[in-house]
Point group: C2
Chain length 221, copies 2
């Protein structure tokens, strides 16, 4: 078997597992988002601020992927919502089977929203469906506005781009409008919110997008 054929087989198996997960999420009415971005783009920080803003009664949970360490689950577990680490032991992305295994013992009927934080990587996680309703790509203003053109795969597949760390805009040469334009060149319908977890700017729009999309998702499913 060639390498390409082998990769195709792995992806096909993942598609199957992801399809089963998606059906299960739909059966229990769980809205699932898959957060993808570079190491250090602010995925965990965005989730922390999000959980912090939620009432204790919200039925949300988090899975967070890393190659090593369970530091993120520890950070995310402080807010009173279930949080579990998936340690990939070298793999550069999450796959659907890792997610299924990490969900063992959780009663999906008791969840409304599941956040999945992928391994920090703009490339490999793009190809692995996790049964999510939406992929969300994070791009921090410290990274450069050309990234959507250089890593088009994830910008094409993501429903939403969260531009993070906008409080740093005065100190970096990043052109925010051009970054949006580049993202829309790859994916004209992509939505964009600009956020700073430091100042709280844009958090209302991000939280609003989540609420709105989860309602739309449940109606359409």
């Amino acid at each position: 078997m060639t390498r390409v054929a082998m990769e195709g087989k792995v992806l096909n198996e993942n598609e199957k597992a992801a399809g089963e997960l998606r059906a299960e999420f739909a059966r229990h009415g769980v809205f699932v988002v898959n957060l993808i971005g570079s190491p250090g783009c602010g995925k965990t920080a965005l989730l922390e601020r999000t959980l912090q803003s939620y009432d204790p009664g919200r039925r949300v949970a988090v899975l967070t992927g890393d190659i090593q360490t369970d530091a993120d689950a520890e950070r995310l577990g402080r807010y009173g919502f279930p949080a579990r680490q998936i340690t990939t032991a070298g793999a550069c992305h999450l796959d659907a089977r890792m997610v299924r295994k990490a969900l063992e013992g959780w009663d999906l009927a008791k969840l409304d929203v599941l956040f999945i934080e992928n391994v920090g990587n703009l490339v490999c996680p793009t190809s692995y469906d996790l049964g999510e309703a939406h992929k969300i790509v994070l791009l921090s203003v410290t990274e450069g506005e050309e990234k959507p053109l250089k890593y088009p795969g994830i910008f094409f597949k993501a429903s939403l781009m969260v531009m993070t760390k906008v409080d740093l805009l005065p100190y970096v040469p990043f052109k925010a409008d051009l970054a949006e334009q580049n993202a829309r060149q790859i994916h004209p319908e992509i939505e964009v919110v600009r956020v700073s977890v430091t100042t709280g700017a844009g958090m209302d729009r991000w939280l609003g997008w989540l609420d709105q999309s989860s309602i739309t998702g449940l109606i359409s499913s």
Copy 2:
């Protein structure tokens, strides 16, 4: 063949091609470094500032990897030194065969230093030897000081960590000393330089490391 066996085979083939490249670099006295870091950590900017500082007579060249676009080769080509793009068409890392192909037509006897800028990714490029003398990992101060613990592979293999964007330290919660400590926890002998291409801080140490390592490399080879 299992997936793991297949990956092993791919890596073995790469090792062979990388060994041939390394022998060829040694024969011609070319000092080769492989720059690895997240998207947006400042690889291209560091190389731009480096080339800018060199006399026109320096015998240096650059290969720069991206999934799409040849924007980086264009940026790097402005300084009068040979610069070529390797577009991986989806692959999340460079491999030795891509490097060999990109070198076609270049006379290695006319080069002293070759910079290879890898695809923006802290994970996958780590496993692919390109025949380089040193891997160099870049970590920007906007990424978080825990990254060496979360992505230990590259910090273990890199001879040098370049901490980039230190001009932003006043505006981010990054603890620079802790980041160095974390890197040394993974790799006690790793060298560290702190650089800002915006202010020029630390550039002398980075350029000094390159000059010193290329001399040491040639004596030992």
